[in-house]
Structure formats: structure tokens, C-alpha cells
């Protein structure tokens, strides 16, 4: 397939996934802000969210003081914020539009309809309807486009580049959520009840609350949360699962230049498949996640160079 086509499909999927993850994080942030707590705690909660997205600096430059409503608007509407939900959905649609000949009619219509809807959304309408409903809607639109992709697209290379985009983006997002929340949560000395709500909010943000209950049938503990979101192969948003998908799809689309990229993806995948949570925690979760995100970033660049925007003619 055309490299440019693969590039658009890869980014279409990444932006859709990013929109979903932003909505997830905002939703949790919003819910946590409704819990009884001090103003500083509330603020810390939002600052943490901005840090997850590496947007704290940009936010402060445009909006000043950290305030829940302002953060939510910034993350939904801000035209300068590349990760705002509006910008992500627009970018997803633009990428889809550029390759609409390779998409099924349903997938194109879904992506286009999502953008048309969000294009008409204003802060006033949002206030009226409630942000919770909106976050839910974004999540479901993302579920829908993923479902339409799986249910209608031919499972050829187009499909695989879409999947690569989805899982690479998701791996990055899960790592970010875990990194910031984990640091805030373990360092804080709240009561047991408060802890419970915070940990469960983290699980909710990656749709893992029920999963956790089912897997562990036990109280929520930080180590198990980390285990579930990093190493559990069956958990669709865990790092291990995301990397398994990335590696599997890379193997199929491989070309004569992608050997090193394959090796690195395989190495990372294996380290998660055979990893143990106590070993990870021994080396420090933060430094592990930091390195993981660097390696994801590196993989993204390498995929671009090998497949998507080959600079050389051959």
C-alpha cells in the first residue's frame, strides 16, 4: 500500500484513540474533583492531569491559574492544544478524509459524523448538557469507530497500520495515566476510604474496575493495580497487551528495512511478557514507565521512517 496512505491510517487511529483517552482522563479528573477534599487537593488533581499530557506549561501560559472548569475547556476546545478532544477528532477526520478511498463507507461516515457533531459543540451547549455526558459520548464514538474498523475493514495492511496506531497510542496513554496517578497516590497519606476512591477512579479511567475485581477478587492494592495495567496480557489496555498487538502487526507488515524496529518492539514486548511486577517496582515504577514511554516514542519514529514517510526513493 502507499506509504502516505499508511501514514494517514496510522494517525487517524492514533488521534481517535487519543481523543478517547483524553476523555477518559478528564472524566476521572472531573469525578475526583467532586469528592470531599481541600482546594489544594483539587488543584493537585488537575495539575496531575495536565502533567500526564505534558501540557502544564502550555496551560499556564494560556489560562493562568489551574481551575477545573478552565482545564476541562482547555482540554476539550483549545485550538492551540494539540491534544484537545476537538483537535484530535478533527485530525482523525482529516486523516480519514485524505484516504477515504481506502476506508469502508461505514468507517468514513462514522469518523466524519463524529467530527461534524463535535464541530458544532460550544462551551454553552456543553454546560447545558453536562461534561460527563460528553466524555461518555467521545468514548462511545471511539468504540464505534474501532468496532466499525474491525467489523467492516478488510484485514490487510491498511487494517494493520490502523491497529498499530491504536495500540501504540494506547500504550503511551496507559503509561502516562499510571505514572502520574501512581506517584500522587502512593506519596499521599490519605485515609483508607479516600485511597479506595482514588484507586478505583484510576481503574475506572481505563475501564478496569470490574476487571480488577474479577481478576483479583480482593481489595484494591497499588501493586496489583500496577500489575494489572502493566503486565496482564488479557487486559486490553495494559502495556503488555498493547505491545503484543504492536509486535504482531509489525511482523506482518515487515519490509526489508524494518528489521531493527522489529527487534526493538520484540524486545520490549518480551520484557513485559516475561516481566515480574516486584522486579519492576524494585527498579522504581516511575523510572520504568519513563523508559517505556521513551521506547514507545522511539518505536513511533522508527515506524514512520521505515514505512510511512520513506525519505529515500528506495
Amino acid at each position: 500500500m502507499l506509504s502516505r496512505t499508511a501514514d494517514h491510517l496510522f494517525w487517524m487511529a492514533r488521534y481517535m484513540e487519543r481523543a478517547e483517552n483524553t476523555a477518559r482522563m478528564l472524566d476521572v479528573g472531573y469525578r475526583m474533583s467532586l469528592m470531599p477534599q481541600t482546594a489544594t487537593e483539587v488543584e493537585q488533581n488537575w495539575v496531575g492531569l495536565l502533567r500526564i499530557m505534558s501540557l502544564e506549561e502550555q496551560y499556564r501560559a494560556t489560562c493562568g491559574e489551574v481551575d477545573g472548569d478552565k482545564v476541562i475547556r482547555f482540554m476539550i476546545f483549545d485550538p492551540e492544544n494539540p491534544s484537545s478532544i476537538r483537535n484530535c477528532l478533527r485530525a482523525a477526520r482529516e486523516n480519514a478524509h485524505a484516504v477515504r478511498d481506502t476506508l469502508t463507507a461505514e468507517l468514513w461516515e462514522t469518523t466524519n459524523a463524529t467530527w461534524i457533531k463535535v464541530r458544532g459543540l460550544t462551551p454553552e451547549i456543553l454546560d447545558d448538557r453536562g461534561v460527563g455526558e460528553f466524555f461518555e459520548w467521545v468514548k462511545y464514538r471511539s468504540h464505534l469507530s474501532r468496532g466499525v474498523t474491525i467489523g467492516t475493514m478488510l484485514q490487510d495492511d491498511s487494517w494493520r497500520f490502523i491497529r498499530l496506531g491504536t495500540f501504540l497510542e494506547r500504550a503511551d496513554n496507559t503509561a502516562r495515566i499510571l505514572d502520574v496517578k501512581y506517584q500522587v497516590l502512593v506519596s499521599e497519606d490519605g485515609g483508607e476510604a479516600a485511597d479506595y476512591y482514588r484507586w478505583s477512579a484510576l481503574l475506572h479511567s481505563v475501564s478496569a474496575f470490574e476487571v480488577y475485581r474479577k481478576v483479583y477478587r480482593d481489595l484494591i492494592s497499588p501493586v496489583r493495580v500496577a500489575d494489572l495495567l502493566i503486565l496482564n496480557q488479557d487486559m486490553p489496555r495494559s502495556l503488555a497487551r498493547c505491545m503484543r498487538e504492536v509486535y504482531a502487526n509489525l511482523q506482518v507488515v515487515a519490509n526489508d528495512r524494518s528489521g531493527e524496529t522489529m527487534r526493538r518492539a520484540g524486545e520490549l514486548e518480551a520484557s513485559l511478557r516475561f516481566g515480574r511486577i516486584d522486579h519492576l517496582l524494585d527498579q522504581g515504577l516511575h523510572s520504568f514507565l519513563d523508559r517505556f514511554m521513551d521506547r514507545i516514542y522511539d518505536l513511533g519514529n522508527r515506524i514512520s521512517d521505515d514505512f510511512l514517510i520513506p525519505l529515500r526513493a528506495s
Binding site: M1, A98, D101, N255, F307, L308, S314
Partner: protein
């Protein structure tokens, strides 16, 4: 411009419904305007959802406009189509022969049938094409010929579009929409199908691949997603099952064109390009073109790739060349033209000029290289002052103008605000030339939605209709 006398496609003398419209007329009578409005709204919603739109990119992306779709079909009888098809085939064959001749022997010029200056001095003439062999001698692989009807059996060709004619996707989508909205009509009328057009197009493209390429790779080349006809480019690529490429996806090495794929370079044999000559190759044409492929023309001239339509074919669809098309039919085919040209006066000829100047109030005067209705005088509706101003301009620069009598376009019943009323229409059939000449029955019917208007262009509020050719 108000035209009071015109041919009505549905009703003959005394309001009698023509036999081929009998069923549709009954159907129309039985339909309330509420239902009609509902169906039209349904069609609009579907067109929007499918993104069958004209891109109007401004401040915000995704601003796209629909071309209005009228739910009342335009019907052509089998007999009329037989004549139209023969006429179109003949005309396009003559045009291809003409372009070939100009870039090779120039016998029509040597024979004095067309003044050399009109051809070789034409802006669309490409000296780079002199002596270049193209596969099967075809230049205009896809021709969109604009036809109007003035009376019973009286068809005129207004324009031969030989560069990158568009609109065929609307022809196909209009049919799909009609079948979806009113399946019952297709049960009671024998409408010739058109949906095999993409197949014919692909076959045509494959038939003109460079010699030796047994399983040729065909691509559609677009200027990009921001082009107003992008929907059509994507649509045709998808329907043919070929790649939709932009200039940046292609490169040339050893006079061979390749596309950049995730599996490395892949050779391209036939390019259905929807981009003008000027932008094809920055090494030869416009240096500032970001849309083209450096070296493409060299590969083309070496016969390693086929471009459809061919470079330099625009020569034959220029207004200054148009008056000679009937002569081309006689010269190259030894036949009498089946389709009429609108009588055209070339102001460059002193005798014709004096006729034009004497009859300005009855004529339409056009700039030879103008387009989109600019630099045009419509005599019957112009004021005395405008006519005099134009007279001075024509006298000063007669070579730049042609003149034609004002044609009264036929009208077809159309669903407008006031109900069902006649509106003027034209017809653009698409003629494909490869190893063979072929076409699907019908074409795109455009309709001027404003009462009395003769302007069918979508940019000026024109709409489209499904076009039926009835099977005998």
C-alpha cells in the same frame, strides 16, 4: 435571460405527456408535495452522511456543500440515445484523430482546413508532445461532452471537455439515490444501468498501458484532499480498486514511474490524472508546482507510462478550435457529423465579424479563452450601453472573440419551491476511448434551478438529476 419558447422534455404540444414520460408523469401526479419534500430531505441527509459534497475549504475544515439533487428523472428514449451515442463516438474519434495529427503530420493544416495560427498559437498546444507516440493514438481517454437539446431530435454540442472532465461520480450517485428512494420506478421503467462505468474506466485504462505490461498498475492521481472534486477522485479510485495517489507519492527513476509503498517502490503503468498539464512536472511545466512529479514527462515521452488524458489534448477543446470540429469529422472520418455544433462566428474572420457586429442584440459573444461566464455578452438581455461597450471591445481585438446565436435549452419538470415546474437542463455524457470507444447510456444531467436561468453550473446554483436512457 428569459426564454419563453423552449422544448419541454415531458410535455408536447397542448400539454400532452410524451409516451416515454407516461409512467413518471403518473407517479408525479400521485405524489403529494409533502412526500416529495420529505424524499428530497432524505436524499440530502444521505448525500451529507456519505460526504458526497463539493469541498469548500475556508476557515474550518469539513465545510462542504451539497450539489442540489432533483428527484425527478430526466428521460431519454432508446432511439434518441442511439443517435447520441453514434454522434458522440464519431465526434470523439475525430477529436482524437485531430490531436494526433497536430502532433505528427499536421495534414489538416497543410490541407488548409484550419488556420495554422489558431492551432499552433493556442495556449493549450504543447510543443513537448510533437512526435510523441501514445498508445493506440488516444489522447482524450475520458471526454465529457456537453450537449443541449433545442427541439425534437435537435441536439447541439456546446463544449468538448477533454482535459479533466468531472461529474461522473454524481451520475453514479444520483442513480444509486434514485434506486434507494424510489425502487418502484425502476420496476415499471426499463432503465439502462450505468453502474458499470468504473469497470469500463478500468478496462479502458488497462488497455492503454505501455506495451509489454501485461498486468498493468493503474492509479488515480489527485491534487489532494482540498481539491473541490476530491470526492470524485477518491470515489473513482475506490470503485476501480486502485490507489489514489498524490504527486508526492510518485517518483521517477530511469524514466520509470514508481509509487512509494510500505513495501518499497512499485512500478506504475497508467496514471488517470485529475490534475492539469501545467502542474504535472515542475521540470517541464510550472516550476512552482508542488502537485506534480519531477521527471514524469520524460518517462511519459519515453513511453514508460501512460497519462490519461494525454498531455496537450486540451488543444482540441478550446473555444477557438470548437467551430472546426464538424470539419474534423469530415476530414478524418469521411463522414457527415451526426451531432450539431452551435453555429459559431469567428470574429477573426472579417466577413463573420461584420455579421456579428450587425447582429449583437441577438447573439451571445464569448471570449475565446474565457471560462465561467466571464467576459461574455448575452445580447438579448444586455442594455444598449453594454452592447455598445462590447462592440468597441470586439472591434479592437476581434481575434479574442466568438459569437453564437442564443440557444433555447430544453426544460425538464423539476421540484422547486413553488412545486413542480420546468427548468432548463443540459447533458454531459462521458465517452471512454482506449483500445475501443465505449460509454454507459446516459450521463450527468445538470439543471438550472432558477426560473428562466440557462446557467447549469453547480457554482451558480445548478443541480443534478438522475438521467435515464430507456431500453427499447
Amino acid at each position: 435571460m428569459a426564454i419563453t419558447e423552449f422544448f419541454d422534455e415531458m410535455q408536447g404540444d397542448g400539454g400532452l405527456v410524451r409516451p416515454h414520460y407516461a409512467d413518471v408523469s403518473r407517479w408525479l401526479d400521485g405524489m403529494s408535495s409533502e412526500r416529495m419534500a420529505r424524499k428530497r430531505a432524505e436524499a440530502n441527509a444521505l448525500f451529507h452522511r456519505f460526504g458526497i459534497t463539493f469541498a469548500v475549504y475556508g476557515e474550518d475544515s469539513g465545510t462542504e456543500r451539497l450539489i442540489p439533487f432533483d428527484i425527478i428523472p430526466r428521460i431519454i428514449t432508446a432511439e434518441e440515445w442511439r443517435i447520441l451515442e453514434a454522434g458522440l463516438r464519431q465526434r470523439v474519434m475525430a477529436l482524437n484523430a485531430f490531436i494526433r495529427d497536430i502532433y505528427h503530420e499536421r495534414s489538416i493544416l497543410k490541407d488548409g482546413r484550419i488556420p495554422e495560427q489558431d492551432v499552433l498559437g493556442n495556449a493549450q498546444y504543447r510543443k513537448e508532445m510533437v512526435g510523441v507516440q501514445v498508445v493506440h493514438d488516444v489522447y482524450a481517454h475520458i471526454a465529457g461532452v456537453d450537449i443541449v437539446r433545442a427541439g425534437e431530435g435537435e441536439f447541439y454540442v456546446l463544449e468538448d471537455n477533454l482535459r479533466v472532465p468531472s461529474g461522473v461520480s454524481y451520475m453514479l450517485e444520483d442513480r444509486r439515490m434514485m434506486m434507494r428512494l424510489f425502487p418502484e420506478l425502476f420496476a415499471s421503467n426499463r432503465v439502462a444501468p450505468v453502474d458499470h462505468y468504473p469497470n469500463l474506466l478500468l478496462e479502458t485504462m488497462r488497455s492503454v498501458a505501455p506495451a509489454g505490461q501485461d498486468n498493468p498498475t493503474v492509479v488515480v492521481m489527485t491534487p489532494g484532499a482540498y481539491n473541490s472534486a476530491y470526492f470524485e477522485h477518491a470515489f473513482l479510485a475506490q470503485q476501480m480498486g486502485v490507489e489514489l495517489v498524490e504527486g508526492q507519492d510518485l517518483f521517477v527513476r530511469d524514466e520509470t514511474v514508481y509509487m512509494r509503498t510500505t513495501q518499497g517502490p512499485k512500478r506504475v503503468d497508467v496514471i488517470y490524472r485529475r490534475i492539469d498539464d501545467d502542474f504535472l512536472d515542475p521540470l517541464v511545466f510550472r516550476k512552482d508546482s508542488m502537485l506534480g512529479v519531477p521527471g514524469l514527462l520524460q518517462a511519459y515521452r519515453a513511453g514508460k507510462v501512460t497519462l490519461a488524458n494525454a498531455v496537450g489534448g486540451g488543444l482540441a477543446d478550446d473555444k477557438s478550435i470548437y467551430p472546426y470540429v464538424p470539419e474534423m469529422v469530415r476530414f478524418y472520418l469521411g463522414e457527415e457529423p451526426i451531432l450539431n455544433n452551435v453555429p459559431t462566428y469567428r470574429c477573426s474572420d472579417p466577413k463573420q465579424l461584420s455579421h456579428v457586429l450587425a447582429n449583437l442584440p441577438e447573439l451571445v459573444v464569448k471570449e475565446v479563452h474565457g471560462a465561467g461566464g466571464y467576459g461574455m455578452l448575452v445580447g438579448p438581455t444586455a442594455s444598449k450601453e453594454e452592447i455598445e461597450k462590447f462592440r468597441a471591445r470586439v472591434k479592437e481585438n476581434p481575434d479574442k472573440y466568438i459569437a453564437q446565436p442564443t440557444l433555447s435549452l430544453s426544460a425538464c419538470p423539476t421540484f422547486v419551491e413553488s412545486g413542480v415546474a420546468p427548468r432548463h437542463i443540459d447533458l454531459r455524457p462521458f465517452v471512454l476511448s482506449g483500445k475501443e470507444v465505449c460509454m454507459v447510456p446516459g450521463g450527468l444531467t445538470r439543471v438550472a434551478l432558477r426560473e428562466g436561468s440557462l446557467v447549469v453550473n453547480s457554482s451558480q446554483g445548478g443541480g443534478t438529476k438522475d438521467t435515464w436512457v430507456l431500453e427499447a
